[in-house]
Symmetry: none
Subunit: 401 residues, 2 copies
């Protein structure tokens, strides 16, 4: 039994509003032992006020020790067990560029590569061809035509692009063609189950036609296919929580992840200030708002401690633009930590606060990693956050008599 | 899906070293309310230094309230869900005396007992016959001969011994013959499934021949069989973690448990100081070292608070002999608590510290039960410790994109 089996039967609508502010990669580490993290270094009066008014703790993104990508990180926050619900690589890549997958699609991550005269790979990334060079090539590949299967080709960045096969009954269980080494030719795409035979045939046909189209190219005269994946099947927010949910994100990846759980993408905001304005604009139309802020993650990924501090302070400054709307429940969290010290996503629990009338405030006086250890939420797996949000919103009935 | 499904796919080798120091039964209780535990009473400058440098918390051996034996206690620390992976009683008893089980074995815990002239049990433990008297009897029982089945008989202690049946296709699902009362005869061993029929026949034959061999004995003229169990099937450290693992233990039980998960037993150390020398000797040959220290448990079992304090101080004194090797990750923990106050294993969380460059240090200044409540690990189930160790060692790739 999973969490949704409970929320499905207990959900009730009382008109309350839940606001979830996600600062990507929010948690961090000190640069040296005994120092402060990025969040602790930042001047964050508004987050500190939420910490004083709310209940605090550390969100474990997946399980202790597991560092998630954006997919499992957000699924956890959305209340979907990220170990149970997998988003295939191809589907995530398509989601990341804003391609809206349908139930008839199989998405594939593709690399341009360089082949020698014998057809052996000499560079698995086509000499890291620039986006300026590769984007016209993906456009040319749209000339591929396969009977009974619609094909979409979309650029991602540099040597990376996405192919989506659309048709009835296409399975997604097909082996990668990237041999993961040079000096050998790409592998054939092989169907691993019966329903994937048609998809494998389409892939073979795609590769044949694409090979002719690319034959004269100096760098990108070949390609490999990896991570074949259908659209993941996730129950919707409406169904599992009874929430009309809106997502206010800037980057396609997060819009895409929100769309997978049935959130409606609203507005075209490009800054956090504009995101706040969008939330205000749509305030009466939804019960739940997911707001995504990217830059605490990207600065952490860059290993730029000071920049992450500044982005955290920016995030903090805009918070009153959201809280002035008086949501019943306000949550601030992150999908994972991205310590500048590691320049990567990490497993460390993410400081998290829930503010609501019945949240049972704790002793925390500031928002941050150390202080959150005094918090009433303790260390909890992210997948439990939505149940806590619903409870604090008065949206969960008693379980059992 | 369990933890190993994640570690199997995410494991990566970066040459780092993980050292796990297990003080058996480490956690304790104060002798009176408001007092200090054994660990808190002990002078432990080296553990305190680790607590200051590391991240601390309390390891729940199995689930809250569950007091484990050595088997589940260690399986949890090794990252094997102790509720999922069971080691049958017979297999654990054989493991405990250093008997190396094979896939063709069924091990049984045996008791000598005393029978009256009618064959009814008058003493289920053969008047607690001494090991000096019982060991020659187990030697005599090696004369039993069963067609197609090899039989091993090994003394344990006093009235207890182990029988191992070895042969092709022997099932391990056979009822106990100990009726758990006196005044009645031993029960027959009954096969509970088809593959156990052969084993049950071997057991019947063993009991018949053993009965004749023991017929003239005053105390031990009978025996009972309990806890029939095959060798447990556990995936190896190599497979689930990609770790070449070594175990440095003094007692057969802990060597046996380590062997069950594929660790290699190295050295013949008899003291903790010698164990440190063995770890140093094999430092380059393994990625992971499990070091077991017994005496914090045995003194706790004896209810000897002062002796447990002393053994804790001994454990502390030798720690620099291990940490001087500069492991990437150092862990100090215990398989369960053994409070002198209870003279037994207990369910209480075990103070635990992980020291590593990216561990995210907390406010703990000392190593111990109360202080660990300030720690960043919180209260966690022991089975998550290995994922945290691997993450801190940089040995887990990102989960999902």
């Amino acid at each position: 039994m999973d969490i949704h089996d409970l929320t499905r039967q207990l959900q009730q609508d009382n008109g309350s509003k839940i606001l979830m502010l996600v600062a990507d990669g929010l948690g961090g580490l000190p640069q040296q032992p005994g120092g402060l993290t990025e969040v602790e270094t930042a001047n964050t009066p508004n987050l500190d006020e939420l910490a004083r008014k709310g209940i605090n703790g550390g969100s474990i993104p997946v399980k202790p020790g597991i560092s998630p990508g954006s997919g499992p990180g957000h699924l956890g926050l959305f209340g979907y067990d990220p170990v149970k619900y997998l988003i295939g690589r191809g589907a995530l890549e398509a989601t990341g560029i804003g391609f809206e997958l349908t139930a008839n699609d199989v998405a594939v991550r593709c690399n341009f590569c360089t082949l020698d005269a014998d057809g052996n790979i000499t560079d698995r990334r086509a000499q890291r061809i620039s986006s300026e060079e590769s984007t016209p090539l993906t456009a040319k590949l749209r000339d591929v035509s396969i009977a009974g299967v619609e094909v979409f080709v979309e650029p991602v960045k540099e040597h990376r692009f996405v192919v989506v096969f659309r048709g009835d009954g296409l399975g997604g269980n097909i082996s990668d063609t990237d041999p993961q080494e040079t000096g050998v030719p790409p592998l054939d795409p092989i169907a691993i189950d019966e329903p994937s035979q048609r998809t494998a045939h389409a892939a073979v046909e795609f590769l044949a036609q694409a090979g002719e189209i690319l034959a004269g190219e100096a760098k990108a005269n070949g390609l490999t296919l990896r991570g074949f994946a259908p659209k993941p099947v996730l129950p919707s927010y409406e169904e599992v929580y009874g929430l009309r949910a809106a997502a206010v994100a800037v980057y396609p990846m997060y819009k895409g992840l929100a769309r997978l759980v049935g959130m409606q993408i609203v507005g075209e905001a490009q800054t956090l200030e504009e995101q706040a304005a969008v939330v205000e604009q749509y305030w009466d139309d939804f019960d739940f708002f997911f707001v995504h802020y990217k830059y605490t993650d990207s600065t952490g990924e860059d290993g730029n401690f000071d920049a992450k501090v500044q982005k955290t302070e920016h995030f903090d400054r805009v918070i009153p633009e959201f809280t002035k709307l008086n949501p019943t429940v306000t949550i601030v969290t992150g999908d994972h930590s991205t310590p500048s010290f590691l320049s990567s996503h990490s497993w460390h629990p993410v400081p998290t606060v829930i503010v609501a009338p019945a949240c049972r405030t704790d002793a925390c006086q500031k928002f941050g990693e150390q202080e959150s250890l005094l918090g009433g939420l303790g260390m909890f797996e992210a997948k439990h956050l939505m149940s806590l949000a619903l409870a604090n919103a008065g949206r969960l009935a008693k379980y059992g008599a």
